[in-house]
Symmetry: C2
Subunit: 344 residues, 2 copies
Amino acid sequence: MKNDLLLRAARGEQVERPPVWLMRQAGRILPEYRAVRDSLKDFIELVKTPQRAAEVTIQPVDILDVDAAIIFSDILVIPEAMGLPYEMVEKRGPFFPKTVGNEADIRRLKVADAEADLGYVMEAIRLSKQALAGRVPLIGFAGAPFTIFTYMVEGGGSKTFSKARKMMYQSPEICHLLLQKITDSTILYLKAQAKAGADLIQIFDSWAGILPPAHYSEFSLPYIAQICASISEVPKTVFAKGAFFARKELAQIKCEVIGLDWNMSPQESRGLVGENKTLQGNLDPCALYGSDASIRKETRAMLQAFGGQRHIANLGHGVYPDTEPDKVRCFIETVKEWKNSEEF
Amino acid sequence: MKNDLLLRAARGEQVERPPVWLMRQAGRILPEYRAVRDSLKDFIELVKTPQRAAEVTIQPVDILDVDAAIIFSDILVIPEAMGLPYEMVEKRGPFFPKTVGNEADIRRLKVADAEADLGYVMEAIRLSKQALAGRVPLIGFAGAPFTIFTYMVEGGGSKTFSKARKMMYQSPEICHLLLQKITDSTILYLKAQAKAGADLIQIFDSWAGILPPAHYSEFSLPYIAQICASISEVPKTVFAKGAFFARKELAQIKCEVIGLDWNMSPQESRGLVGENKTLQGNLDPCALYGSDASIRKETRAMLQAFGGQRHIANLGHGVYPDTEPDKVRCFIETVKEWKNSEEF
């Protein structure tokens, strides 16, 4: 690997500077991505066309010079592989025509077979690895079981997630049945990603922040812990957006990296998590709407707060669709030029 | 006042049991409310018809036997009174045909005149006080300037609040100009509410949780602090949803009560806030989807965590629209029967 900064930072080794990449760097902001996307029917076709998915995976490495690629895919391929197909409605988000409402629905779902049902992801990973040719590591990913669960029960996004949350109060054992099935699918899926060439995997718990702490401990953490305990092939990152209350518990999970959103103070998080994890994040994605001078100031303050080691520089959320690529470049360059000793 | 539990708890006096009420208790869940609402054109007409607004304000006291009434109104009457009228789109939320994008837009707005522009709220308060006849206190309220600001810039709700957040990075001084104008309007508005009879006022910072801590300290806290410092007539509650990171700073504000959402641990919050504030909250609103037994268990655990004194029992968010009134009753009765010494 020519540039293995990401993997060394993840493992807690000494680095010359923090590695930098952006969540959603593939598939949101580059005009080159738009061009590929517009040549296909829709988002889901792009996800399922390995050659093109690999192409957009590599774009941020070629164009933005980030320290890692992340495979272009979608967390919702797992419910689809389990038997719940979905559509992606432009400007509105995902929509599942069929949802899960009771035990019979769950029994009908299968544990996804990574190669048979999700072979297109593995092929995209293999093609991406070829195209990367050892330049930077490739990140694989999956949704956390709780987040996937909410989509399968709600049928899409939601303001209050009342259906999913109602089920947790009314039929906790049914929830656990579904969560375990998602977990089993995810473990096989992530193992296959590692085998296909992913160098690190990230688990996205996008809706973590909607749960009371006791529910998060019951319905989300144990499944993330299972996944991390099962994957020893590659380093793991857990990003539980909004779960400020669970940082101490997340530190107990067998993962190398913990992602922070932009609400979470780096110093306070380090105190809660301890010294044995690498932290990833956490510039406010809206900071990239600012002037170059303001981006540099905010980015340096963020880097300084993390302290330079055991840190992977990133935003605190996926880059927002209307962010200008030049602003992303400014962020990336600021990280690359930064020295820990720098005064500001 | 026959039942002044709320005011005694707010002031930190000894109480026999914690008072209980629910955010959004008026105007969401009661069939009796639906009947009134359906007899009028829409939500906004109801807000502007004092006789009917007072009627739905009193309903939860008559029907649910809560320890406080909260005036039926809307935080968005302030932007309207400043010159930005809005519509309430059924199932989608508020929509502002005109929004604020630059300094000229802000200069065109006026500081709201509480009696001339918002007299219908004061009249609803006076009528509610008459109908309550000293049974329980009446709560008045307003949005926090930052939350009102986001609506005025975005023109409605949003997933990422990119427009409002972009302005904060690009033109902070313009933001402060608008925030100050909203603050000036809000102070006059809340003083008028107290004069009309409100016994306590609550400031709702509904979108607090979208800001990085540094922005919250710059764009929200100082304006809430100004408001609280200006209102000495009645006790004040500040509810900054999602601002877990600002609990220590909120404790410095001249208010009597701090509201907690359902993500915030009562014990940890007490540690951050200190002993000199009353805490309000924070049962997960989705807990009311559970069985009666489960509601009782969750409610008692919540009460125990707060410890009985310096606590106002409530949900951690407004009651959700599809909550059954009987479940709300179960919550209320559990609080009323609870004794601090109780074992569970």
